[in-house]
């Protein structure tokens, strides 16, 4: 006796779920230029690597003989696959199934998907497109229910266990929006994806009439820190996901792998010697410095539009993946705003969670000051950023490019650790800058002078004399002042020195979204 018949039936049923929401629904997607969920998975993962879990799940209808006449698939497809030959878990919303709203949800599937990724310790990529809760389902259910987040104990745990990537490929509302931000890296497709807690009709009931683009467009969410990247096509979103994962270990129980170095670790760009203007008030291009000192073409910026005075991203040094933080003087002179603080906290916790050594290129005049900054709670968010820096156990290297002032400046590293630190000759530091602090510190002296302005200038000139970073270095306050062109060789040496110090395992301070 063979089980041929049963296997035939199995294949017949699988073909029914593989048909997703049916030809008419799929054609609507095609004509609007959207991929369906199975096409998405195919484009994201290595060829023929997708192994679906729960391929039979759906709501069956039976004929008179008790045979399944139709099997309406659930709205979540997930399974194991490979990306760049490494195992991953991939989960995709099927929007062709009644808009992927709550009604077609198969209980337990989402939670099991999260658990699979967690227990197998493999990265998870969520392909999201769903409209969230739906009042129609209440009538079907015949009752209301107390909302509870099934499986979210694992979703929360995954933030400290495996890399999670969320791609917003269509509307992501309500719980879909939550699935977006419960990730280490979230990407939205411009004009295709809209993300909000509740959509325009609900918001209109509160008197706010807005389009979905105005309410939750990709640019808005990137600016609000809801997502880390905005792209124009689904294919670009898949490429972002792959690139992000290439810098990370499969889970916190492993270490990120070195790739074959593609760049000379001893390369010294001549331009670096003039990268920072002699005039302290002038800005310069920190991204060009980053590109110059890390492995050529390896810098992947994340979360660019949010908290923009701090640049964050991933890069490589002599092939070793590292986390990069840097100041952008074009934004508030590099001052830490409340948003920058939140960005730093999340980024440092992320780097620490996945054992990525941090390189910090510093030009921080302090926290942003003023009444608005006070109202934004800058000092408390700044204290949280400082806490993340002080709690991080990963190797840490600081390059003082220019300003280091105040509490925000002091947060460039944990002072209690060995100072793996270099300063450029443009280094300029203190509790507050000479330009701002003289008037109050020398108030009486200036007030009593015959010519207060001249006295102010005189005192400033006096203080500027002691401002040279060489004086601090002579007192060993700064360990090492370097020729800026030496930066890359020294950073590559750092990456090689500390590779063995990275320790796999979960950390005490895993990040919250």
């Amino acid at each position: 006796m063979s089980w041929e018949k049963e296997v035939e039936e199995l294949n017949r049923l699988k073909a029914m779920t593989a048909a997703m929401g049916g030809e008419a629904a799929l054609e609507r997607r095609r004509s609007s230029g959207r991929l369906n969920v199975r096409e998405r998975i195919e484009k994201l993962v290595d060829a023929d690597s997708f192994r679906e879990v729960g391929a039979l799940t759906g709501r069956p209808e039976f004929d008179e003989g008790g045979r399944v006449s139709n099997l309406a698939p659930g709205n979540l497809i997930f399974g194991r696959a490979k990306i760049d030959s490494r195992p991953v878990c991939v989960a995709g919303d099927d929007y062709s199934v009644v808009g992927s709203a709550g009604g077609a949800t198969v209980p337990g599937k989402f939670a099991m998907c999260e658990k699979m990724a967690n227990e197998l310790r493999i990265p998870l990529v969520r392909l999201l497109e769903s409209t969230g809760g739906n009042s129609r389902s209440l009538e079907q259910l015949g009752r209301t229910y107390i909302p509870q987040m099934e499986g979210w104990e694992t979703v929360v745990e995954n933030m400290g266990t495996i890399p999670v990537v969320a791609l917003g490929l269509g509307p992501v509302a309500g719980i879909g929006a939550a699935k977006m931000v419960f990730s280490h890296y979230a990407v939205m497709v411009r004009e295709r994806s809209h993300m909000f807690m509740a959509g325009p009709p609900l918001v209109a009931r509160l008197g706010e009439v807005v389009t979905k683009e105005e309410l939750g467009g990709a640019e808005l969410q990137a600016r609000a820190g809801g997502v880390d990247e905005v792209v124009d096509t689904e294919e670009e979103a898949f490429a972002c996901a792959k690139r992000f994962l290439s810098y990370l270990p499969s889970s916190v129980y492993e270490l990120a792998e070195r790739t074959v170095p593609q760049d000379d670790p001893h390369r010294k760009d001549e331009w670096l010697i003039k990268a920072v203007p002699q005039e302290r008030r002038r800005v310069y291009d920190m991204r060009r410095i980053i590109k110059s000192v890390f492995d050529s073409g390896s810098f992947m910026e994340m979360t660019q539009r949010y908290g923009a005075s701090v640049i964050t991203g991933l890069a490589r040094l002599d092939g070793w993946p590292v986390a990069v933080m840097a100041s952008d003087p074009y934004r508030y002179g590099g001052a830490w705003t409340a948003e920058s603080n939140a960005k730093v906290e999340r980024f440092v916790d992320f780097a620490n969670t996945f054992h990525l050594p941090v390189v910090n290129l510093v030009d921080v005049p302090g926290f942003l000051i003023g009444r608005d900054a006070e109202m934004a709670g800058t000092i408390r968010s700044g204290a949280r950023a400082l806490s993340s820096v002080f709690q991080a156990k990963v190797p840490w290297c600081t390059v003082l490019v220019r300003k280091v002032f105040g509490v925000a400046g002091a947060s460039h590293a944990n002072h209690a650790r060995y100072h793996y630190r270099f300063s450029w000759p443009s280094g300029d530091w203190g509790s507050i800058p000479v330009e701002g602090g003289v008037a109050s510190a020398y108030r009486d002296e200036i007030a009593k002078a015959e010519d207060p302005d001249a006295m102010l200038s005189l005192i400033e000139a006096r203080l500027n004399q002691v401002r040279s970073p060489f004086r601090a270095a002579m007192a060993f306050d700064c360990e090492d002042i370097i020729d800026p062109r030496e930066t890359r060789p020294l950073l590559c040496e750092f990456a090689n020195n500390v590779a063995k110090l990275r320790e796999p395992g979960p950390v005490a301070t895993a990040l919250r979204p």
């Binding site: 008030r281 508030y332 302090g366 000051i369 608005d372 701002g436």
Partner: protein, 75 residues
């Protein structure tokens, strides 16, 4: 004819206005120099064209995303 507004990237003081209405400009030309945290932050043009209107003056305080200059794009 298309008009484009150049917005302030940050909340800041307008330190210098580098252009005036009617002036032809190239992409990347500095239009306005803002001041924030003792730093001069140039706001460059993202297109070539003619300055139609300067919407701020030196000493003004501007909010993030506030329009600074309108530019008529070159054909």
């Amino acid at each position: 004819m298309s008009l484009k507004l150049i917005h302030s990237p940050i909340k800041a003081l307008v330190w210098k206005v580098e252009v005036e209405a009617g002036q032809p400009i190239e992409e990347y030309d500095p239009l306005i120099i803002l001041e924030s945290m003792k730093t001069e932050i140039p706001v460059d043009s993202s297109l070539s064209g003619i300055v139609r209107e300067v919407l701020v003056k030196e000493g003004d305080s501007v909010e993030e995303n506030q329009p600074l200059v309108s530019i008529e794009a070159a054909l």
